[in-house]
């Protein structure tokens, strides 16, 4: 497991059915047509010296180091730009080539500092390697000529530096930014000898530029010109472990590059099938929270939240907690106990928490944070297609012709996938965006949506039904697909329903505020533009009609025949790293793993015999019901693993009241989060770097997470759950998460073929992995829907009960931003705050002017539920009448204002629509002040007992 660089084939892989055979240095090699000579040589282990070529970007042919001789060809062509031909005879090493390459290297080195021994790229530098490869022994030009030495480095980016004196202007960074990330933030300034890499105009540095700090340029740089500051600080890594990122649902795989137990850097793994060697600022750089000083590593208990915390041993914490749980169960019954699983923890950890609740606590009161994000996806896609998951893999987007993005902001929330989508859009695919806000995808360099439908928040169903109306009434339905693949009666009911004149774009325009002509054009484009793919996020699900919207999306995909092959499909963009997995693992109160209803006796029997317990046949309480029941006094104790419900769940005051009413709140987390202010037991958690296990991403891809350092708190999270279970007498004896995974596979048909060993060997598997799909399923519903026939559902638009009026005339919608993640517990504890130090309220210039507000003013944001203060940003990204903010910072607590309205089917909260008023303000609200007091008091730790 020593440190080796990832292989670099010099030019990107070419996919072609035709192959070509050629001879390189006397060895025959067969490669796909269109492959470069350089790549063909690398395939057989050859190593042609190169500087400007790397397999993440197209060949460029500028460094002139990779020259080769080809029989019958004049001169010495560059191997990176020369495609292979059949029968070609190539020589990569001849006296003539040696001389040429040495000459080129001499020129490079004549303007390069000779400080290799103190350079952060020492022994990890392609320039150094190339000099060695070509046998550079002398620089005849000397070092006294014009040079770039001594130029000041640009240290503005918190994570990497740019040292122009080390730069050889190969422009790999510029091309990586253009081709891989698609941000095009870098350029070559000037020309000739004066050429210099620049991040924007002459007034920009890396931080002020359009750079999104994805790290692609740093990865592409052959020298130390662009280098992680962490490498400069700690030195070159000595080993690497492939693992999966713990941020969003894209599920990028990284090499955690280590020195001892010190993580030196995270480098995207080129073989990762979700990210294909790319990364974003969060996964690549924002891992510093793992060792942040706020991290709590000693268990703590207290009798009441008015008391300071008391540090105790693990043994005391576990026996105290188990004892309290048993007491409360004895007094109030099993249904007074419950738990919440975490979409950030592994499948194995999540599975154990629900097992503890169902089999140990004895109730089905288990829920998960997916309740507040993608529960409608589960419900909607199960009803229509038969599976609670997206239909495609991420590679699918490479085959899409029309991409419809609704209620998602991929460039901020799923940036690595967004880069892949943007690449396809630059290739010519058409884009339709349905979003109240002008997200970056609507118009950003080289990307322009064909149609942006800026709908009134809360009218998704009306817009989608109107699109369906156009498709049905204008004869654009894929009749053959519907005939063969769907239930005809349901289709006909649906077609009659949407064709009704009341659902025409013109009739719905007053409600949706989307110009009817635009909507018609968008519908026609989607139905007739070739492969149509729908990507959606929480702007779809977090509404009172979230489930209806998911089903309306599914209807649209089925009606246009866009299911069951690459390039199409319905793709929920999952918010958290393992939200798909948490749902798969039976985290919902009504379902066991694999989405099997708890009332199903056969399934229950399977688990009962395996676990040796009796399961309650009644579904348990959802999060919001647990909180309601707590206020009523019937729900008394909760075990919360890795979720900060106080900050993330809607209507903060209600959450606080529920937690305050409970006898026992157990928080199992990395930090004393906001929920812990109401907790009686704090069990320190471990980070993704400290545990083995698996995460499942948005494409149903199960990927291994690997322990690269010991848990700072002493235990991986599944071990803590096991300790608690055993203290309650359950007698578990898992020695490693692979054993839990084996249990999951044994009990869950869709995971039947998944094993830890296979995941480690193959990198990942996309469920279902069963007899029908022994190697998993990149695309689902290929030959037929999982439920048999696709089921159309009539989706009547019902306006939300949250209405604007004279007191609350504006609609608030919420979202997130690239540099932060969810409630910010992790990202706020990293240098990502350089980009987004606080939550801002976006407001249209007209609304701001009417209120006499200017950019940067403090304002009070008030709803029927509560009020908070924050500063405003005046922008026409939002329409008049709509305001927008993020929810990353506890000082703001945007959820103080959100309501308890929720999805009719799943109770997913309606975060995306709140009627508000915004007024000038000169200080924090009473809630903010009181909460800040409570927070300070509640976080006190008494060290006396521990000493």
């Amino acid at each position: 497991m020593g440190y080796a660089k990832q292989p670099d084939f010099g030019t990107p892989e070419v996919r072609s059915d035709k192959t070509v055979t050629l001879s390189i240095d006397g060895r025959d090699v067969t490669v796909p047509e269109g492959t470069s000579v350089m790549r063909a040589a690398a395939e057989i282990g050859g190593d042609i010296p190169k500087l400007c070529a790397t397999d993440m970007v197209k060949s460029f042919g500028s460094c002139r180091l990779c020259l080769v001789e080809v029989e019958g060809m004049r001169g010495t062509p560059a191997s990176c730009t020369t495609p292979v031909t059949d029968g070609m005879v190539v020589k990569t090493q001849t006296p003539r080539l040696e001389k040429l390459r040495r000459g080129v290297m001499e020129l490079y080195i004549s303007d390069h500092p000779l400080d290799c021994l103190t350079c952060s790229a020492n022994n990890d530098c392609e320039l150094q390697d190339a000099a060695a490869d070509v046998g550079l022994r002398d620089v005849r030009y000397g070092y006294d000529g014009a040079h770039h030495l001594g130029q000041a480095p640009d240290l503005s980016n918190p994570y990497f530096l740019f040292a122009p004196d080390k730069c050889i202007v190969c422009s790999r960074c510029v091309r990586a930014c253009d081709e891989v990330q698609g941000t095009l933030a870098l350029t070559v300034d000037g020309r000739g000898f004066a050429s210099k890499i620049s991040a924007g105009t002459q007034e920009d540095d890396f931080l002020s530029s359009e750079c999104v700090s994805c790290g692609a340029c740093v990865q592409a740089c052959p020298t130390s010109a662009l280098m992680e500051k962490s490498v400069k600080e700690h030195g070159k890594p000595e080993r690497s472990v492939v693992t999966t990122c713990a941020y969003c649902g894209v599920g990028c795989t990284f090499r955690a590059e280590m020195r001892g137990e010190q993580l030196v850097r995270m480098v995207p793994w080129k073989e990762g099938k979700a990210n294909r060697g790319h990364s974003c600022v969060k996964g690549r750089f924002a891992w510093g929270y793992a060792n942040h000083k706020d991290r709590i590593t000693t268990p703590m208990i207290r009798d009441s939240i008015d008391e300071p915390w008391r540090e105790v041993s693990w043994a005391e914490a576990i026996s105290h907690t188990a004892g309290r749980l048993q007491d409360i169960r004895a007094q109030h019954g099993a249904r007074a106990l419950g738990g919440i699983t975490s979409s950030r923890c592994t499948n194995e950890e999540t599975f154990l928490v629900q097992k503890l609740v169902r089999g140990g606590f004895g109730s089905n009161n288990v829920d998960t944070c997916a309740r507040v994000c993608h529960s409608p996806t589960g419900y909607g896609l199960k009803t229509t297609f038969g599976t609670s998951a997206g239909t495609q893999d991420f590679d699918s987007v490479e085959h899409s012709d029309v991409i419809l993005v609704i209620g998602a902001n991929p460039t901020d929330a799923h940036p690595v996938f967004a880069s892949r989508m943007k690449r396809r859009l630059r290739e010519g695919a058409k884009l339709i965006v349905i979003d109240p806000r002008r997200i970056d995808l609507v118009r950003s360099p080289h990307i322009e949506a064909e149609h942006h439908l800026p709908l009134q928040p809360g009218t998704n169903v009306a817009v989608l039904t109107a699109m369906a109306h156009v498709i049905v009434t204008e004869g654009l339905v894929d009749a053959q697909f519907v005939q063969e693949r769907c239930e005809i009666d349901a289709f006909e009911d649906w077609a009659r329903f949407v064709a009704d004149e009341s659902h025409s774009p013109e009739r719905l325009e007053p409600v949706t505020r989307v110009p009817a002509e635009d909507l018609r054009a968008a519908a026609r484009l989607f139905a007739t533009g070739g492969n149509g793919a729908i990507y959606y996020g929480l702007g779809v699900t977090e509404h009172s009609q979230g489930s209806s919207t998911v089903m309306a999306i599914a209807n649209l995909a089925m009606a246009t025949g866009n299911i069951g092959r690459p390039g199409v499909g319905v793709n929920p963009l999952r918010g958290q790293n393992n939200v798909q997995g948490a749902c798969d693992m039976g985290s919902f109160p009504h379902e066991l793993s694999g989405y099997r209803h708890i009332s199903d006796a056969e399934t229950r029997a399977l688990f009962e015999s395996d676990w040796g317990v009796t399961l309650d046949a009644e579904p348990g309480l959802r999060i919001n019901n647990m909180l309601d029941a707590a206020v009523d006094g019937t729900f008394r104790a909760i075990y919360i693993q890795g979720e900060d419900i106080l900050q993330s769940d809607p209507d903060t005051k209600h959450v606080a009241a529920g937690l305050e009413a409970m006898d026992l709140v157990i928080v199992h987390d990395l930090f004393l989060n906001e929920t812990a202010n109401y907790a009686h037991v704090f069990l320190p958690g471990s980070t993704f770097l400290e545990k083995d296990g698996t995460f499942t991403n948005a494409e149903r891809r199960i990927q291994p997470v690997r322990r690269v350092m010991d848990p700072a708190n002493g235990y991986e999270d599944w071990q803590v759950t096991q300790l608690l279970a055993n203290a309650m007498g359950l007698g578990w004896d898992y020695g490693h998460p692979s054993e839990i995974l084996a249990e999951i596979a044994r009990l869950t048909p869709t995971f039947a073929g998944v094993t830890w060993e296979r995941l480690c060997d193959e990198g990942s598997l996309q469920w279902p992995v069963n007899e029908a799909n022994p190697d998993g399923a990149p695309v689902m519903h290929v030959d037929g829907f999982v439920r048999g026939k696709g089921h159309f559902v009539v989706t009547e638009y019902v306006p939300t009960d949250e209405k604007t009026g004279p007191r609350f005339p504006l609609l608030l919608t919420t979202g997130r931003i690239l540099s932060h993640y969810n409630v910010g517990a992790q990202t706020r504890r990293t240098a990502n705050t350089a980009w987004h130090p606080e939550d801002l309220l976006e407001m249209h210039p007209t609304d701001a002017e009417n209120r006499g507000l200017n950019e940067g003013d403090w304002v009070k944001l008030a709803s029927r539920k509560g009020e908070t203060t924050l500063r405003i940003k005046v922008t026409d990204r939002v329409a008049p009448g709509v305001v927008y903010t993020t929810f990353h910072h506890p000082e703001t607590q945007a959820n103080v204002v959100t309501t308890d309205f929720s999805d009719w089917a799943t109770n997913c909260p309606e975060y995306k629509v709140t009627a508000v008023q915004v007024t000038a303000s000169n200080g924090p609200t009473d809630w903010q002040e009181n909460y800040a007091d409570l927070s300070e008091r509640s976080r006190r730790i008494s060290h006396e007992a521990a000493e």
């Binding site: 933030a185 350029t187 300034d189 007034e203 080289h446």
Partner: protein
């Protein structure tokens, strides 16, 4: 400035490869293309600031700062060197002082009749030191 740039870009709207023509017009209208202008042009053409800056900085005739002084472009490429331009440069520089900007160019395409210089769109050939300094003084 914004208005001028907006008008120029509108004139070239829909044209393929509009950036260079836009830059020429902006340079002509404003005498320079500074960071603010680059930012505005990038926004209007849906390009990044870096892309615009890369092109602006590549061409010597696009200026980052306006310079109202008259310009004399003197060819100092091989042919003109062979005909003695280097020997004339001290006198040219002295004549220019701070009032005139003397720019070196490499070849005006009149190699057979050098030394050559250019002022605006006018080319001047077969120059000797006297003729060249006079040009500078009158520029």
């Amino acid at each position: 400035m914004t208005k001028t740039i907006d008008e120029i870009v509108a004139r070239h709207a829909g044209r393929e490869g509009a950036l260079l023509p836009v830059l020429h017009d902006v340079q002509a209208a404003l005498g320079a293309i500074d960071a603010e202008a680059e930012t505005r042009i990038a926004h209007l053409l849906n390009l990044t600031r870096a892309e615009v800056h890369g092109v602006v900085s590549f061409y010597h005739d696009f200026k980052a700062k306006p310079d109202p002084r008259p310009v004399v472009q003197v060819c100092r490429a091989e042919a003109c060197q062979a005909r003695g331009i280097e020997g004339m440069m001290p006198a040219v520089t002295a004549a220019a002082g701070d009032r005139v900007r003397v720019e070196t160019v490499y070849c005006l395409g009149l190699c057979s009749v050098g030394p050559n210089a250019r002022i605006g769109d006018d080319l001047h050939a077969r120059l000797d030191e006297g003729a060249l300094t006079k040009l500078v003084e009158r520029a």
